[in-house]
Amino acid sequence: MKVAVIKYRAGNIRSVYFALRRLNIEPIITDDAATIRAADYVIFPGVGAARPAMDDLKESGLIHVIPELTRPFLGVCLGLQLLCRSTQEEEVRGLGLYGLEVIRFPSTGKVPHMGWNTIHDLQGPLFKNIIEGAYVYFVHSFYAPLTENQTVAVCDYLVPFSAALQQDNFFAVQFHPEKSGLVGETILRNFLNL
């Protein structure tokens, strides 16, 4: 099984690498288009700022490679946001796989949304054996709103938002499965069993 983790300027890729190692998988961390196209599974992690991350994807040409992938693909955190059409964060244009605009949490509460929160209305293979109301770990200031066809998990913080999205082979989670204890490990395993 070949698992590629996309390397770009988006913070802590190592934590995803370690999480896969704990599942006895040795991923390839790469920004090489051919390697990514040849992988059985592709993970698109990321924390931090949207603009340098997107600039980096443009520079490496991955901005054109990612939307054409046909194997199971998993965006994590910033990875989810960059798969959307655009984000309010510095008005960055995303990859457009989900037709959503990522927006900033209202200032009626503490931002970032940081810590363990529950997810519900779970749908699809990513959440096999995950109970409604399971806790996962979030750290983010922007969120993807709910959408009728693509939201496969919901979280409530100040507003209800998409904790996970799916369009065909493109899965994405706003939380960090690599930091979400046993629940997170199950979700990663579910993805790698697709």
Binding site: A49, G109, G115, S141, K179
Partner: protein, 251 residues
């Protein structure tokens, strides 16, 4: 619903976990990686590792330790202690830390907070404040509690958040090591002054202290060390207790 977090803190010196009582008198409390993994298994929500090694050689060893921690833990962890520069932070994040805590260096050079937030994002920048009550105000101390500054804790917290700190780790020096409860007034004051999460630290002794700091102190998370290291309170037992007091926790 977003849960309140329970965070064991591990002070690390020369590769071993130690806990300072009132910042002096260190006692051994085990291997940092094993201890951290055990806490994660018991339901700790996050961990904080504080490097209290002073030497350059010790720093390199800490970086290796951070890698071992990252490889092992499936929950987030923050590292702090002696961080001076963007370069230090980059090395620790690359080693696998999720967040970094800065204290003295940020007081000396507040722009460091802006730089770190810009470079790595606010979500990984934790401002640690050691505050000591003098008359009616809380003053900020640096260098492990050895140097007094003129900064008021509340003003400093606000400024740091404006500059990009994503979380405040607030330690009451008066309460630290005393096991007589958290400083509720200080915690509430800071938690209401800033719009980022506040971790209360210093003074945990009984399970009810945690109830108070969440309900009265408005803390988002609570940190403790010795009560966990010496098995005086287990994390599972504590979380069950909190849940029975209608505090949202991850069980």
């Amino acid at each position: 619903m977003l849960s309140k977090r329970i965070i064991p803190c591990l002070d690390v010196k020369d590769g071993q976990t130690v806990k300072g009582i009132r910042f002096v008198n260190l006692r051994q409390a085990g291997d940092p990686v094993e201890l951290g993994a055990a806490y994660a298994g018991q339901g700790a929500d996050e961990l904080v590792y504080l490097d209290i090694t002073a030497t350059i050689e010790g720093r390199g060893a800490f970086l290796k330790l951070v890698q071992r921690i990252a490889a092992r833990l499936n929950i987030p962890f923050t590292v702090g202690g002696g961080i001076r520069s963007v370069y230090d932070v980059e090395a620790l994040l690359n080693a696998g830390a999720d967040k970094i805590g800065i204290n003295s260096a940020a007081v000396q050079n507040p722009q460091l907070i802006d730089q770190l937030a810009l470079e790595f994002g606010s979500q990984c920048v934790v401002l640690a404040i050691d505050a000591k009550k003098e008359r009616d105000s809380w003053l900020v101390y640096t260098h492990g509690g050895r140097s007094r500054t003129d900064l008021q804790a509340e003003d400093w917290a606000k400024q740091a958040v404006q500059r990009g700190a994503g979380e405040i780790l607030l330690t009451s020096m008066n309460h630290d090591g005393e096991k007589s409860g958290f400083d509720i007034d200080l915690t509430r004051r800071i938690a209401q002054a800033v719009n980022v999460p506040v971790i209360a630290s210093g003074g945990a002794g009984r399970m009810d202290d945690f109830v108070q700091v969440f309900q009265q102190g408005k803390a988002d998370a609570a940190l403790a060390a010795s009560i966990f290291h010496f098995n005086e309170i287990s994390i599972k037992e504590l979380k069950t207790y909190l849940k029975n007091h209608n505090i949202e926790v991850r069980l």
